[in-house]
């Protein structure tokens, strides 16, 4: 009994000290409560749609984050090595492409991805829903990976400003070991994890927004493609939109909230999942940076 109480106390202490854990628990609890509520008050097909949409969104977001890490790591290290070796032309070319991607708003890049997806579906190159989701994931990662790349470059720059790299080079240690193992893995993985958590939020935001935009197009009888259900496309469906529109009744009649949480659940659930996930992951990223002191000099 005492040991379980002590365990509970330790866990609570840990959660109090580390805000990221507290917010992660909060996210799990929030989604859990929503599902419980939906189980009771939302009809089964709609609840299935909410669950599938959340699952697809999270999987796609996580995939985009993973791909961003791969792309960002490769491009960040390439930038650094090209600069270090004074390969001016290759460096300039890489910068040109990176700057172009940077200056195109992320949502436009993702939209272009959807245009290409439409072409690929029409040409029957992409058929399954999984492949479509994978394509969307790749598209989102292309729109956001430069943030990982920038983090990697700034970490490498920081270590170049110290004597770290030079001291190791002089001992005959290989440059790739210094960059990948000593700097990025040993000294920057917390910074990268922080960036990836923050990017997870951005990826979900982008994906939901573009899915919403594209799906809203459905109402005009013209659409790009039938992508798998995500929170964005679920929110854009006519039922959900009605649910969200109903929210404005709250201004004239606050008691209408009882109707909202019982009768307009599909749209409200989708919106809640999006907003709550964005808030929680922002807080998790912030809490992690604070507890690991990643924002100091």
């Amino acid at each position: 009994m005492d040991s379980s109480r002590q365990f509970l106390r330790q866990s609570l202490g840990l959660i109090r000290r580390r805000k990221e854990l507290a917010w992660f628990c909060m996210w799990c609890a929030g989604i859990g409560c929503l599902f419980l509520w939906d189980e009771i008050f939302l009809n089964a097909p709609a609840f299935d749609r909410v669950r599938a949409a959340l699952f697809n969104t999270l999987v796609s977001g996580a995939g985009a984050v993973f791909l961003s890490l791969v792309l960002g790591w490769a491009s960040g290290a390439a930038f650094f090595l090209l600069e270090q070796r004074r390969a001016r032309y290759s460096f300039a070319l890489l910068s040109l492409v990176a700057n172009a991607i940077r200056s195109l708003p992320q949502v436009v890049l993702v939209l272009v991805g959807y245009v290409l997806l439409n072409q690929l579906i029409l040409a029957e190159i992409i058929r399954s829903e999984t492949a479509q989701l994978a394509w969307v994931t790749v598209t989102v990662s292309v729109a956001v990976f430069l943030e990982v790349s920038d983090t990697i470059r700034s970490r490498l720059e920081y270590f170049r400003s110290l004597e770290f790299i030079d001291a190791m080079l002089c001992c005959g240690i290989s440059e790739s070991r210094i960059i990948h193992r000593e700097i990025l893995w040993r000294n920057s993985r917390e910074h990268l994890l922080h960036k990836l958590i923050a990017l997870f939020g951005v990826a979900i935001f982008l994906q939901c927004s573009v899915d919403f935009i594209v799906s809203v197009g459905l109402s005009t009888n013209v659409s790009l493609s039938n992508v798998p259900l995500t929170l964005g496309s679920l929110l854009a469906s006519v039922d959900s939109k009605q649910d969200i529109l109903a929210l404005s009744n709250l201004f004239s009649d606050p008691a209408y909230i009882t109707e909202i949480v019982v009768r307009h659940l599909q749209g409200v659930s989708a919106a809640f999942c999006i907003v709550f996930t964005l808030v929680c992951f922002f807080m998790i990223a912030n809490g992690y940076a604070r507890s690991r002191r990643l924002n100091g000099p």
Partner: protein, 494 residues
């Protein structure tokens, strides 16, 4: 004010537990000790400058909040000053030095012209031009920034009135000053001491201060206390330091290596090297019109000295191929290198094979997030077995290097331990040539003696050593006069 009892812990792990941290009113206390054992953190705690949210602190067995609320503490904090280490980060980059020198309570002090004149050794025009710049990493130089911070302390000292008291800390205030400036700083401090009812604490590794104070200011014997902080079973202790201990040790030092000059040189650097728009030449003594070729012989140690901020480290790094020179001719182990050579030429045949370099700041040169055993990973020709690593460490670490030492994260080591680890990493490579940048930085006398012994072994093995250091007392004694060079540099172009 009387000596303090301080304890500081982080997440339940004790960092400092010291009784008798040496502070006394009207006394200049010089505190020596290996870097990283808690001299500065203790001083920060006494001065109320530690963020209490991050550490558990008690001073004189009182909680930190109670200690800071004490009337006497409030007074000596408000009237005192702290000259922090690393002058670069302790000045606001977006404010001119002149404005920073006249901010807050410093605006009331009237002694600025006198302090500036003395710290700039009469060159007031140069000082005036420096005070109007915004401090940046490379301009003004570290020495100039250090003098500005010292000037702030002297201005604040002049505001002390009889009956009040102030706590003044100078943390490594001479690290970026050359010998003449260091002596001027000490003289100024000694001149201010009788005028101000202050408790002055000077934290340093620069033992040559001892020589200046004992030879020049012997009359102050009661006003100056020499102390040393050291670790005993993980706890800090403070004891009296005998100036004779240092003076006797220095006078016992003899030149390292064989007495006769062997014909074989392994490294030669021509005068006239130009890098980062500065031109460098080597001379045998100050004011020498003839430039010399810096020559380093097998089995011998060569000592390159020069004023602070002149670019000694830059010259070493250029020889190592880390900077792109505008002009250079260097011969390394029989191979000629010029500005035409690329980085890959050094990486293939020089780095870690023919020549290696030990950098000054062990904190930056080592991976703090690695374990001690990881420091040996990836070194060419070194098999990083446990036995080999422990053998290598034993040369500089005694009993500390046993058991779990290999599994300690580097950031948990003291500054002195890190510096020794930094040296060991390069020395086990057994290269023909070893470049050392301030190898005794952060070490106490005992550790310095060990490093010197290890250098002797390296020379006996046939290695050649080129050393750069501001510890002139020590390295002048360890090097034969014919192997000592003076670096001169001047800016070229706009």
């Amino acid at each position: 004010m009387k000596p303090f009892e301080i304890s500081i812990a982080q997440d339940g792990r004790p960092l400092i537990a010291v009784a008798g941290y040496p502070v006394a009113e009207g006394v200049l206390t010089i505190l020596f000790g290996e870097s990283g054992i808690g001299k500065s953190l203790s001083a920060l705690a006494v001065a109320g400058l530690v963020e209490p949210a991050e550490l558990t602190i008690s001073v004189d067995r009182e909680s930190y909040a109670h200690y800071l609320a004490r009337g006497d503490v409030r007074e000596y904090r408000a009237s005192g000053f702290f000259v922090f280490q690393e002058p670069s980060s302790h000045l606001n980059p977006l404010m001119t030095l002149r404005r920073q020198l006249n901010e807050g309570s410093l605006a009331r002090a009237t002694n600025e012209p006198d302090v500036i004149r003395r710290l700039w050794q009469g060159n007031e025009q140069e000082a005036a031009s420096i005070l109007d710049v915004y401090p940046k990493p490379y301009r003004p130089s570290g020495g100039e920034k250090q003098r500005v911070l010292a000037a702030m302390a002297f201005k604040k000292m002049s505001l002390l009135r009889p009956g009040s008291s102030g706590f003044f800390v100078f943390d490594e205030p001479t690290a970026s000053l050359d010998n003449r400036l260091r002596d001027e700083f000490i003289d100024l401090l000694v001149d201010y001491l009788p005028q101000a009812p202050a408790a002055v604490l000077l934290i340093t590794h620069d033992y040559s201060i001892v020589a200046r104070l004992t030879r020049r200011h012997a009359r102050l014997s009661g006003k100056v206390a020499f102390k040393e902080m050291y670790l005993v079973r993980g706890k800090q202790e403070v004891r009296d330091f005998e100036p004779r201990e240092y003076l006797g040790w220095v006078s016992s030092l003899k030149p390292l290596g064989p007495g006769t000059a062997p014909a074989e040189f392994v490294l030669r650097v021509a005068s006239g090297m130009r890098v980062l728009s500065r031109s460098y030449r080597f001379v045998r003594k100050e004011g020498d019109a003839n430039a010399a070729t810096l020559t380093v012989y097998k089995g011998r140690m060569t000592y390159l000295k020069g004023g602070s901020g002149l670019g000694k480290t830059t010259v070493l790094k250029t020889i190592m191929g880390l900077f792109e020179p505008e002009k250079m001719v260097v011969e390394i182990g029989g191979r000629r290198f010029t500005r035409e050579n690329r980085r890959k030429d050094w990486s293939r045949s020089v780095w870690g094979r023919k020549m290696t370099m030990v950098f000054q700041h062990a904190d930056e040169a080592l991976n703090q997030r690695a374990l001690v055993r990881d420091v040996f990973g990836g070194l060419p020709g070194f098999e990083s077995s446990e036995r080999n690593m422990l053998d290598a460490l034993a040369k500089l670490f005694d009993a500390e290097a046993e058991g779990s030492f290999l599994n300690r994260p580097v950031y948990t080591l003291s500054g002195g331990q890190k510096q020794r680890l930094n040296l060991v990493r390069s020395m086990i490579l057994q290269t023909e040539i070893l470049l050392l940048d301030e190898p005794l930085s952060g070490l106490d006398l005992k550790a310095s003696a060990k490093v010197i012994h290890l250098l002797e072994q390296q020379l006996a093995r046939g290695s050649a050593i080129l050393v750069v250091s501001h510890n002139e007392d020590i390295f002048d004694a360890l090097t034969r006069p014919e192997d000592v060079y003076l670096l001169e540099g001047h800016k070229e172009g706009p």
